[in-house]
């Protein structure tokens, strides 16, 4: 004869349909004999039946709309993260532009064109040389260590600039050297610092999860 404690445990298994056949028979035999377990079994089974026949109700028609409205109303910290990301991208672009321009300016122009007295004609010439030097910088960025190669192309560049230089000669004699006071080698340092900053910002951007 099985004990009531065991029977109680098995009633739950029976409700879950996970009591095996032989134990099922033992349980039913006990319920026949034991008034208390029979009463418990009957109540538990009727509870189970009622609960299982519960119908699903439909979602109120405005439920989803209300939810989306209250979500859009909440400016979340998540949106701040999105803002941070945009700020980071903007910072990267600004650094690329600023350091790119300074780098170009100093790498290829020993002598400054930023002279008020420079004629219109000379400015348009320098625009052409700047276009060429942009290509140079692109090369420099990929082949950072190979400075000699870049220098060699700078030599090329300079021969191309011969005409504009000759035009500047007169101005140079009058006003001396570079107004910014940045020399050839210092241009490289600026490009490198700029590069490091850009890499730092990109790491920051990746860490915020793409």
């Amino acid at each position: 004869m099985m004990e009531c404690i065991k029977a109680r445990e098995w009633i739950h298994l029976h409700m879950d349909r996970s009591l095996d056949h032989s134990n099922e028979a033992l349980l039913m035999a006990h319920i026949e004999d034991c008034d208390i377990c029979r009463r418990d079994y009957e109540i538990l089974m009727s509870i189970h039946q009622v609960l299982q026949s519960t119908d699903e109700v439909d979602l109120p028609s405005d439920f989803h709309e209300t939810l989306m409205k209250s979500i859009k109303k909440r400016p979340k910290k998540r949106q701040n993260i999105l803002f941070l990301k945009q700020l980071n991208i903007a910072a990267v672009i600004v650094f690329v532009l600023v350091f790119g321009l300074i780098g170009i300016n100093n790498l290829n122009q020993n002598k400054s064109f930023n002279n008020d007295e420079v004629s219109e004609e000379m400015l348009s010439m320098s625009a052409i040389t700047e276009e060429n030097s942009e290509m140079n910088v692109a090369m420099d960025a990929t082949e950072f260590e190979d400075a000699s190669l870049s220098r060699a192309s700078n030599e090329n560049e300079r021969s191309q600039k011969a005409t504009s230089d000759s035009l500047l000669l007169e101005v140079d004699h009058q006003y001396g050297n570079d107004l910014l006071g940045v020399r050839y080698d210092e241009g490289w340092i600026i490009v490198m610092v700029g590069g490091i900053l850009i890499i730092g910002l990109l790491i920051g951007y990746i860490k915020l999860k793409l």
Binding site: R8, E9, H12, M15, D16, R39, D40, I43, L44, S46, I47, H48, V50, L51, Q52, S53, T54, D55, E56, V57, D58, L59, P60, F63, H64, T66, L67, M68, S70, I71, K72, R74, K76, K77, R78, Q79, I81, L82, K209
Partner: protein, 197 residues
């Protein structure tokens, strides 16, 4: 929805894409509302509580780390929110006298919910009595037991799923559910003894 597309929606929603959140949450809305409906037994409270659950999902989505299924995590929020909100309302109801009026109104809608068209009128009366008896007992059950009965016996969630929602082991989960059923049965027995005497 496949796990992968759900994962993508979660990531996009975390990045502030409300359309992605909408797609992610849409398949769960009805279930959450129904669970709240069983918990509160009135439309307004169920509406408010289930909105609360889904807003919490939105606000805490960045804390979801894919350590469980998304549905498990969502139901954990649903369970906890339903329990909290139920306690708040119970405390509030204890201070008001409208409870009897409310229960009276609810009974009617509850029996309507359970109508079985294959029964004879006599059987229906008997059935309705049982339905009301169970409903009444559910109302007296402690909230943490009530939510377990809702998940297991009304919506048929497996012990395994419930264990994951509770972050409990399987044995503990099974015995907690057995105790909840036992408590429900004891409430009914007590009630029957009271009406008999």
């Amino acid at each position: 929805m496949s796990d992968k597309s759900e994962q993508k929606l979660i990531n996009n929603a975390v990045n502030g894409d409300s359309k992605a959140f909408e797609k992610l949450i849409l398949p769960y809305e009805k279930k959450v509302y129904n669970i709240a409906m069983q918990m509160f037994k009135n439309e307004q409270d169920a509406y408010d509580a289930s909105q609360e659950v889904l807003i919490k999902v939105y606000n805490n989505l960045d804390k979801f780390k894919f350590e469980s299924a998304f549905s498990t995590w969502l139901h954990r929020l649903a369970m906890n929110t339903c329990i909290d909100e139920y306690r708040k309302r119970k405390r509030h109801l204890e201070h008001t006298t409208t409870m009897e009026v409310r229960v009276g109104l609810e009974d009617e809608s509850i029996t309507r919910q359970f109508i079985d068209h294959n029964l004879t009128p006599e059987q229906e009366v008997l059935k309705n009595e049982t339905v009301l008896e169970v409903h009444d007992a559910m109302n007296q059950l402690k909230e943490d037991q009530k939510i377990l009965i809702i998940y297991r016996d009304i919506y048929g969630y497996s012990y395994d799923e419930i264990a994951k929602i509770l972050e409990c082991n399987l044995g503990t989960t099974k015995s907690r559910i057995s105790r909840a059923r036992q408590a429900l049965k004891d409430i009914i027995i007590k009630k029957r003894e009271q009406t008999a005497s």
